[in-house]
Subunit: 418 residues, 2 copies
């Protein structure tokens, strides 16, 4: 109890991050990682590519936090100012380092290229700091410790940042927590509406604390984030209790725990049943197949799909009868059924999804408005079909309907061990 | 020319925004709005729900910026600390205001509800500030001006924030620019490497100012953001001059101007030529087709695609000869060619993309490592094929190779009018 809680801050450097296009999302990964070690991020900042602004921010943040994690601004161009900003903030000189230049040359050699001369600026090292090797890119990181406070700087590229965060920073801070962790666990729900779920679970708030339950809604997927604090074992047990209590109320609405979305859940259940899947997509145009194949190992169970944007493709590649298309139109329950059945047949799959709709912004009619989507799941016991008019723009309609189709498949597959 | 450039900062208040899930996106709207009046956001911050942290942040930001826009923390609960933070930062008392309480009661009455007693805290006003009425919610905003510097605080709900931003803040700052606008224009480049482009264009920095050129790299697409300042017409002419100078150096590397990515460019060029496209994807698993169909109106030229994750699908749906698969393996130049040719044939399209590779994390061999991708474009004059070993994880390999394939198609299609 006597351990004083240490705090951290994130600083993202880059003019593009103070423009009107991009947000700094690295801070989310950093916050999550630091929380594992009981370290709370209390402040986040973004500044443009100016040595002065970077140096001022680091100085102010170091004055009130134990750890400052900087991302971005470590590349080879003139607007990469983080190295110099750190040097100025901590009042140390910066000088070329032959070993670090060697790392960069090696990295280029691995890719079969000569290091451009401009890259030598990345081999300048702040005196007293530890340069961090980048095996996923060329820009080295920086770790500077002074009087128990740390400034760590990583490249802005998430894949490169993550390597250094885990390999170089975590060992430095792992002992800081004194055993107090704040853990969280995310239940992913499919096929539900936020306000309904809110009503179902609200009686549990008083039991577990309102601040320990957060609902995050996106289009067709709801995330319920449960949190608990204490030493790691106690917080873990608390989360187990919370998970059971929420699952009891939510039943099959819970698709999975700590999963990225519905596609890994569906792939797992198929793998568990040793069955295969194919897709036939019209309005979602490959979105479902791209989500499925974004999961490593999808090829075990996902055989492939057909994006049938034209009626001709629906006929020739999926065997949807022309009569059906003429009688009911491409966006209809009948065509969704025939697409699913066609994909199941063409790929010789156990299961198949068929989806057809009007994503907009044009193409709607009074009978078939923009947002109308029919989706079907064909399986060993026949075809199930659903429809809905989704609100929102083209992207939202596509995302929502892709999730709806995956959720129908998930429920058709039933519970697995997960 | 004599107008001194004013600067602004954004501060978002809320513990949920320093967690590991949510980002402050209000700052994007604010940045865009202020830019219309020549005001540059130089710094963004996020702090948790603490009066001290909010007051410190406002004090520091007011010391170096003319305008500080705060969002969030104006609600009725104990963790809504923005009003008190402002009072502390500017050293003024805060007191209940009967008129403001009337606004809040009226708002509740409109919704047919009684105002909860807790809401009276929202009617406390910082001495010398102007309370801002909220017609889209209940929490009033704050506008405090002192010695030409402004702190404006709006609710975190975007729909409520936007009303006050336009109605209450814009009139205050509209005259600040003195007619000086900062405009920007984004050139999108495909099929290039950041350091090569940097070397090609660096001689232009001195001519146009280093701070007016920003390179944003993602996997397979590079964005070159050009900026110019002055009255609106002069800044526009300056951007025209800059664009010409950069285009002269970069030639066909420039895919388009102010476009979202390569897919709209490719669709435009096809539309211009009245030609059609189909795709055959293995490692990208539908990513290319989902990008293409995310563009409204894609159905004019994009006929559809086949995601052939299994060898059987490559044979039966794309007509890739089994001998070819056995002799060269699914990831080979020969199979990429046959996939492109097969898709072109099956969809009766003018053009088709074929792509096959090893996205990882497993499946690599010494001869065919993870990241190896072959892509082909089949068109009226034959088939072009390329390959590369892309670095990075599964998502990155997929994104990079999808962009590489779209770029090969773009270059095969030649310049359009854009």
């Amino acid at each position: 109890m006597a351990v004083e809680r240490k705090t951290a801050a994130c600083l993202a450097v880059g003019s593009e991050l103070i423009g009107d296009r991009r947000l700094d999302s690295n801070s989310l990964t950093i916050t999550r990682t630091l929380a594992r070690y009981g370290l709370q991020v209390e402040e986040k900042r973004v500044v443009g590519d100016s040595v002065e602004l970077v140096a001022t921010a680091i100085r102010e943040l170091l004055a009130r936090h134990d750890l400052v994690v900087v991302t971005g601004g470590l590349g080879p161009t003139a607007d990469d100012v983080t190295r110099d900003g750190i040097a100025q903030a901590v009042g140390r000189p910066i000088a070329p380092d032959a070993e670090v230049e060697g790392w960069i040359r090696d990295r280029y050699a691995e890719l079969g290229r000569e290091m451009p001369e401009v890259c030598t600026v990345m081999a300048r090292v702040v005196e007293g700091s530890r340069p961090l090797r980048n095996t996923r890119g060329s820009a080295p990181g920086v770790l500077f410790e002074n009087q128990g406070r740390i400034v760590a700087a990583f490249p802005g590229v998430p894949w490169e940042m993550e390597e250094m965060l885990e390999r170089d920073l975590v060992p430095e801070i792992a002992a800081w927590s004194g055993g107090v962790a704040r853990l969280s666990r995310t239940l992913v729900l499919g096929g539900v509406v936020e306000s309904d779920t809110e009503e179902k679970i609200s009686f549990l708030y008083s039991r577990f604390g309102r601040e320990n339950v957060t609902i995050l809604a996106s289009y067709g997927v709801l995330r319920l984030v449960l949190s608990a604090e204490g030493d790691e074992a106690a917080a873990g047990r608390r989360l187990d209790t919370m998970e059971s209590a929420f699952r009891e109320v939510l039943g099959d609405d819970v698709a999975g725990v700590e999963v990225e979305g519905l596609s890994p859940v569906v792939l797992d259940r198929l793998r568990h049943r040793r069955q295969t899947l194919a897709t036939a997509e019209s309005c979602t145009g490959g979105l479902i197949s791209s989500w499925l194949t974004d999961v490593a190992g999808a090829s075990d169970v996902y055989l492939g799909g057909i994006v049938s944007y034209s009626n001709q493709a629906k006929e020739t590649l999926l065997g949807v009868p022309r009569d059906l298309l003429l009688a009911h139109g491409a966006v209809s329950e009948e065509v969704a059924r025939a697409m699913a059945a066609g994909a199941r047949d063409r790929f010789s799959a156990d299961w198949a999804i068929g989806i057809t709709g009007i994503a907009g912004p044009t193409g709607g009619t009074p009978e078939k408005p923009v947002g109308l989507v029919h989706w079907a799941v064909a399986g060993p016991n026949g075809v199930e079909v659903r429809h809905r008019v989704f609100p929102g723009n083209r992207s939202i309609v596509r995302e929502w309907s892709a999730n709806a189709a995956l959720d129908l498949l998930r429920r058709s597959l039933g519970e697995s061990s997960s």
